[in-house]
Subunit: 495 residues, 2 copies
Amino acid sequence: MVEDIEKTESKKAAKKEAKKAEKAAKKAEHKAANVKENASTLDEADISVGKYGNLPLIRSDPSAPKRSFTYIKELNKSLANKVIWVRETVSKSMVKFSSNISKESIVDIEAQVAEVPSGVAGCTQTDVELVVSQIWVVSSSVPQLPLQIDDASRPEKPGDEDSLNIRVNQDTRLDNRVLDLRTPTSQAIFRLEAGVCKLFRDCLTKKGFVEIHTPKIIPAASEGGANVFTVSYFKGSAYLAQSPQLYKQMAIAADFEKVFTIGAVFRAEDSNTHRHLTEFTGLDLEMAFQYHYHEVMLLIGNLFTEIFKGLRDEYSNEISIIGQQYPAEPFTFLDPPLVLKYPEARVMLKDAGVEIGEEDDLSTPVEKLLGRLVKAKYDTDFYILDKYPLAVRPFYTMPDPQNPQSSNSYDMFMRGEEILSGAQRIHDPKFLTERAKHHAIDIEKIASYIDAFKYGCPPHAGGGIGLERVVMLYLGLDNVRKTSMFPRDPKRVTP
Amino acid sequence: MVEDIEKTESKKAAKKEAKKAEKAAKKAEHKAANVKENASTLDEADISVGKYGNLPLIRSDPSAPKRSFTYIKELNKSLANKVIWVRETVSKSMVKFSSNISKESIVDIEAQVAEVPSGVAGCTQTDVELVVSQIWVVSSSVPQLPLQIDDASRPEKPGDEDSLNIRVNQDTRLDNRVLDLRTPTSQAIFRLEAGVCKLFRDCLTKKGFVEIHTPKIIPAASEGGANVFTVSYFKGSAYLAQSPQLYKQMAIAADFEKVFTIGAVFRAEDSNTHRHLTEFTGLDLEMAFQYHYHEVMLLIGNLFTEIFKGLRDEYSNEISIIGQQYPAEPFTFLDPPLVLKYPEARVMLKDAGVEIGEEDDLSTPVEKLLGRLVKAKYDTDFYILDKYPLAVRPFYTMPDPQNPQSSNSYDMFMRGEEILSGAQRIHDPKFLTERAKHHAIDIEKIASYIDAFKYGCPPHAGGGIGLERVVMLYLGLDNVRKTSMFPRDPKRVTP
């Protein structure tokens, strides 16, 4: 088990919250006692007997009632005066009996839909209300919640001093993820995330790509063994794949021509930042091309345009819900996307007072600055940066045929943060060996990688996308843990 | 690294093949020398200079030719007399120059399409042929192949004694997967496998399911710790998830209502059979229901019907290609699918002379027998077996409300082998604790699982499907390694 050194902090917060909840619970108890008293004085005259109570545990009994339920969101005036059933989480004030029902419990309600000409305040349904005739608890919650859904749903506006005190901190949210995921924002985030995967797949499938599944358990840590998790494998050991790249490339060498895969990717990096996870969802693709890797790079650029259009058009409701809690500038993009060359970026940075050497990589703050410069000049939150210095790319990257300092590689950015890294890969085993030696990599250890290209392989390029980062940056969120349903980092492997 | 104790055997086979290949190569060398001689005598008169040769390594040079390629499968008479470019693997006999090109190399060919009224034998294109005017090697293969694509593609018919000698064994295939995947059968298998995932997702998305991603790195081995891989996780350790079940259930408790996920699943089982893998692709779903788990069970049954229909209608070409190498009876199914109750199955087995106790599980051979009985009686290769004995199911399975020996659980079968296991899960934390204690499970170790249901949770059911098994059994193949692109078993973690 992994020790969470931040736990002490969060425990203190949790204790505070627990005390608050205790007080609230005592209040509720008092209230409930009153209700009981009232109820007992009415006992002889209880005309609602058999119309409320705790349902027995639903175990799929054949004698179970046959009811057809209506979703709250489906309510409207056309249902006025009709009797319907809904299954919904109740609020304390819903009906008298419900003062005994703890928040977040699941209840079934029979009710008549009533028009409310004056409008209902503070509810998702404003023009009708329910006149409850039956209420049954299906599954009750413990009375003390570690966090209130209302608090977890509160808008976070920068500089809003008051709201600071009632914010639910990240660890409390993640420790109680089942509750935190019930907020309208969480519901919208993960529906939109599913949308990104769907758009990615649908777009590539239309272009003739084949979906593949690559192994996560691999025999050797290919790039020197840094940042790789070790797995006990029967009497030996193995590793967790840091990327599906070798396998995507093998699929290309095996004549599949265009492939994609969506799956878990593992990085044993001890980075505790807003954008690093030790396990994330990779959207990967690889494609054979005819003569120039730009055939692939531009296809990927176009893929992003399709995804952004799809999100804008099909997920506007989700985007608006999330924006109410976490306000952000709408995401902007160009069609076709902007392609900048590395030397051009260096000039833009120099003009802004930051000098980068010809063979230097961009640091994270410099990437962010470049994102702001690009946004100011071209009004786009997405762009492609092409032709990285050869020195800062992995050994399997194809060097530029004309400029020995440059390479056939690219990164793609959203709101100034990298979300894809890709390149033409070396498909010739001799040249690959030569480049690996240049990087002082033990050839023995990567023999099976090199061997994959021995039997003929078309030139190819590809890239890998971090799903959680794409969703975080598209929505302008501040932490990748908001877009990973059950995030993993060096300090967290629970729940 | 994992030792492959079967390697000695396959090494012998490989050596034999290598010797054969050596002979062939010497022959080719001799031939090539002749060609060179011929070429030198023709040197002054070589009218083809600049029309053949080795292309320089394609590194995305801006001066690269601009050509538009035609796929071999797109060739037809309408192209007759037109000059086109194709990129294709060549056969030894294609043109004179190609006798120097090793098999499986990638070449670009300029050619004129010519009608062949008499038909071309032994090729995929029978009514046109190419009159080659230019040929360029893009990427050359080493001359000695560890297996011949022709051998790897040879039909396997039961009882066919002759074909036994030229079969390529499974380990040779997997050791050289890049070549083995080039056979028409492999190409078709993995295209069909991609189809299963697509049909699964499209069908569930239409029904309102949300796709989620669940962590593979988990903090505790929930069911007692058997068959779980351990991962070194920074200064501690963690485990690889045997199923996404806990996380699917948490998503249900978190109000997502209907979820599915496709991802890697790990089993540290030391089983070396035709149907066990240590890593496979799980197609998982979980769904809240109103009153009866049959709402979910029948939805899953219907999902399979949709998948089978989709494969039959959209992948008939792939099915036919695979059937040529591995003949099998076409897969049969009923719409709606057959649902058998466990007691009915016991009666069918008893009538066939096999007695199974009321609380006994079915062994693999008995499952297969039952499959044959069902097929004979109902003519279906797919069916649902409902209401398993409680004693043979995991602790979280909901017991039957009327019969304490029975449970609300089901398996689904294809050609007599289990491909899905599912059930209503206990959604009440107290009852779940009671059942775990009954199974002598350490409550402390599963506390976070039980806690997921503390804050109210709708009744729900679901199931997990093994992708590779579904494809294997749909096609009537004999080994799950044929349907896993890079299979992992206790003896294999490569390539």
